[in-house]
Amino acid sequence: MEFELDDDQRAWLEEVRDFLRTHVTPELRAELAEHDLEFKGGEVAAFRRAIGEKGWFGLNWPVEYGGLGLGAVHQHLLMSEFEYWGVPGPDLTVTSVAPMIMRHGTEQNKAEFLPPIARGEMICAVGYSEPDAGTDLASLRTRAVLDESTGEWVINGSKIWNSGAQRSTHEWLCVRTDPDAPRHKGISVIIVPIDHPGVEIRPLIAWSGYRTNEAFFDDVRVPATNLIGEVNEGWRYITGALDLERGALTNAGDLRRSVEDLVELARKPRADGRVPADDPVAVRRLAGLVADVEAATLMGYEAASLLAEGTIPTVEVSTEKIFTSELRQRIADTAMDLLGPEGLLAHRNPEAPLAGAYERLYRTAPLLRFGAGTNEVLRDVIAQRGHALPRSGR
């Protein structure tokens, strides 16, 4: 095992940091603070274009698909750095959808979808969960039926937690194509343009203020060639994509920043004059968070190293996902305890410490504990796949 970044990795990290120093402007920060990602045609859009110009949307893709041919470790370092800076980087389309198209897609799938994804022009919302199919994803009911006369898939059903659909161009949609097959066998993945007739997107606003969506599909027709890979093989593709998604979502870059900021804040007097770091109990809790961020970082490095070797490290990524998501809640809770009543001051309140970042984090953190596979199911995965314990009845 090699723990130090090698020369190539160090140079890469420097290149990423140079880019961020140039492109993360006060204007971008101001737009993100006020609108998150929802302001159309503004600084975030320009920032995305700059990322696209660097070729970083396809940084870990083979050169033949319009990528830079860099490895999973490069991607992980970049994602962690973007998270540390608190700016949007390559999204799920790039980190989990595209690799599955490369791995499992038809030649036409690859030619049609990969180049626009690499340019940042095609953005997918991920359509997995349904109102009655959440953690038990394999019970999904959205149907696609092939109309032999026109050669089109006809889609009916609905999806929920369809995050980013309002900013997306396409759905990476998980549908049932064989209702008679066993649950996991009759599922396929179809790409659906979001502006197609019959697609309707309705917002759902979460506790954190985050917008997610419900998506409805009413006799939506797409060409047969929009089906990814082979029909009825979709379960393999989405579980693979979910592993990648967990890996991409759970780098510890944002957590490192949160803890560094908190250590800094804890050394300064609060509004009531108290200095949190004068309290040994507070110091002990902060030291625990620092140690946990280091472990989370190493877990991310390990998962990226394994990905670079060509394996999908399901157990390692599950471990990292559980650890980082639960750590995020500990950070938020510790921060609010240390900041006292001042910590209650809301996100975007200029009087709040760090503009209410921890007040919001407390509301944001629950998402990643149940999202992208609940931690309970992922604990089952560790026990069953990592240690060969028998399947539970659940």
């Binding site: 095992m1 190493l298 877990m299």
Partner: protein
């Protein structure tokens, strides 16, 4: 950065696992704990010497394997799993201390017999409960060309079976590193009745002649060695925890209650998953600390992080192992307590997670005095 074991690491680990499985069964571990037993494991020692374990990190010129500190960590992962007698790791730590602190002449005298299995040692360089506190426990006085030391050392490992103890003594405001022969006149060695069975000793030294390692040794040099040995013991804790987990999974997969293996119950699986997660954090952070120390860094931050994770993970893994074994793991004949005690002993020596949190808090500027 590439956190995947190399082929060499995998091969070394496999070789050590096979060797220890054959030569260090729990019957040996138990026998060494019996009252009045000869505590030196001669046949195991001979096999480990033949396999080159005692020379792993030392230069070929001294009979070593010219390996990295990481190779010693690989040994300790397996030593933790097999509960290998501490005199092996202790002697490796002693050799590392001589290698780092001594001059060529001393290395030339100590390391060849050590690599050949003919010299055994241990260190007492820090507060037994705080690896970062390297203030000398003994005082020294000049005696002709040499030195004599006096004072008291607590929790010295294996003082009954080692040939030399590397420790420090204060003289005129500076620190002297010395080698003590525990059988020299003026040394009183008393076994401590403690968890984990015999193996820890109190040494009372009354004007004992000693061999100089280095005069006016720098605090950071001592800390580097002390943290290196402590980080290696964090790796050992990981091995202890891994074996507790392995035994637990084996038990939970085969023990049936209510008509199904208890390992199929989600509550049991989640305990297993939490053991796994804790061990991952511990394993990665302990190996990261060893790697940093192997590069010659002081690595207080990495050492603290390793200790904070390794102690917690090993205690949790062993105590949750008891929970999942129930009565089957509570009776002495199933041996589980051997790992539980090792986990607890190694979590007290060198410092608890709270002690290490203090090192870390200082590193990140949270404590000032």
């Amino acid at each position: 950065m590439k956190l995947v074991p190399s082929q060499e690491e995998t091969d070394l680990r496999g070789m050590l696992r096979d060797l220890l499985a054959a030569e260090c069964p729990t019957t040996l571990v138990r026998a060494l704990r019996e009252p009045g037993a000869d505590r030196f494991p001669a046949p195991l020692w001979k096999s480990l010497t033949a396999a080159g374990v005692l020379g792993l990190p030392f230069a070929e010129a001294y009979g070593g394997a010219d390996g990295r500190l990481d190779d010693v960590a690989t040994y300790l992962l397996e030593a933790g799993r097999a509960l290998a007698p501490s005199v092996v790791a202790g002697t490796l730590g002693f050799g590392i201390a001589v290698d780092r602190l001594g001059d060529d002449a001393l290395r030339g005298r100590v390391l060849p017999p050590l690599c050949a299995g003919e010299l055994r040692g241990t260190v007492a360089l820090a507060d037994p409960g705080d690896a970062h506190d390297v203030r000398p426990r003994l005082s020294a006085r000049r005696d002709g060309d040499g030195w004599r030391v006096s004072g008291r050392l607590e929790h010295v490992a294996d003082a009954d079976v080692v040939d030399r103890v590397l420790t420090t003594a204060a003289v005129d405001g500076r620190t002297l590193a010395v080698l003590v022969d525990p059988r020299a006149e003026g040394v009183d060695v008393t076994p401590l009745e403690a968890m984990g069975g015999p193996g820890q000793f109190r040494m009372l030294l009354d004007d004992v002649p000693v061999e100089e390692v280095v005069d006016a040794v720098a605090v950071d040099d001592l800390r580097r060695v002390s943290h290196t040995i402590a980080a290696l013991r964090c790796v050992e804790l990981v091995g202890v925890a891994e074996e507790a987990l392995r035994r637990t999974v084996a038990h939970a997969g085969s023990r049936h209650q209510f008509g199904r293996p208890i390992g199929s119950f989600q509550a049991a699986q989640h305990l297993v998953a939490d053991m796994h997660i804790g061990i991952q954090a511990a394993r990665l952070s302990a190996l990261a600390a060893v790697a940093a120390l192997g590069r010659g860094e002081l690595a207080v931050r990495e050492s603290a992080v390793a200790r904070m994770h390794a102690t917690v993970a090993a205690k949790r893994a062993t105590l949750d192992a008891h929970q999942l074994h129930g009565g089957m793991g509570y009776v002495l004949e199933t041996d589980l307590h051997l790992w539980s005690e090792r986990a607890r002993v190694l979590s007290s020596l060198d410092g608890s997670a709270d002690t290490a949190a203090g090192w870390l808090a200082e590193e990140v500027g949270l404590v000032h005095d």
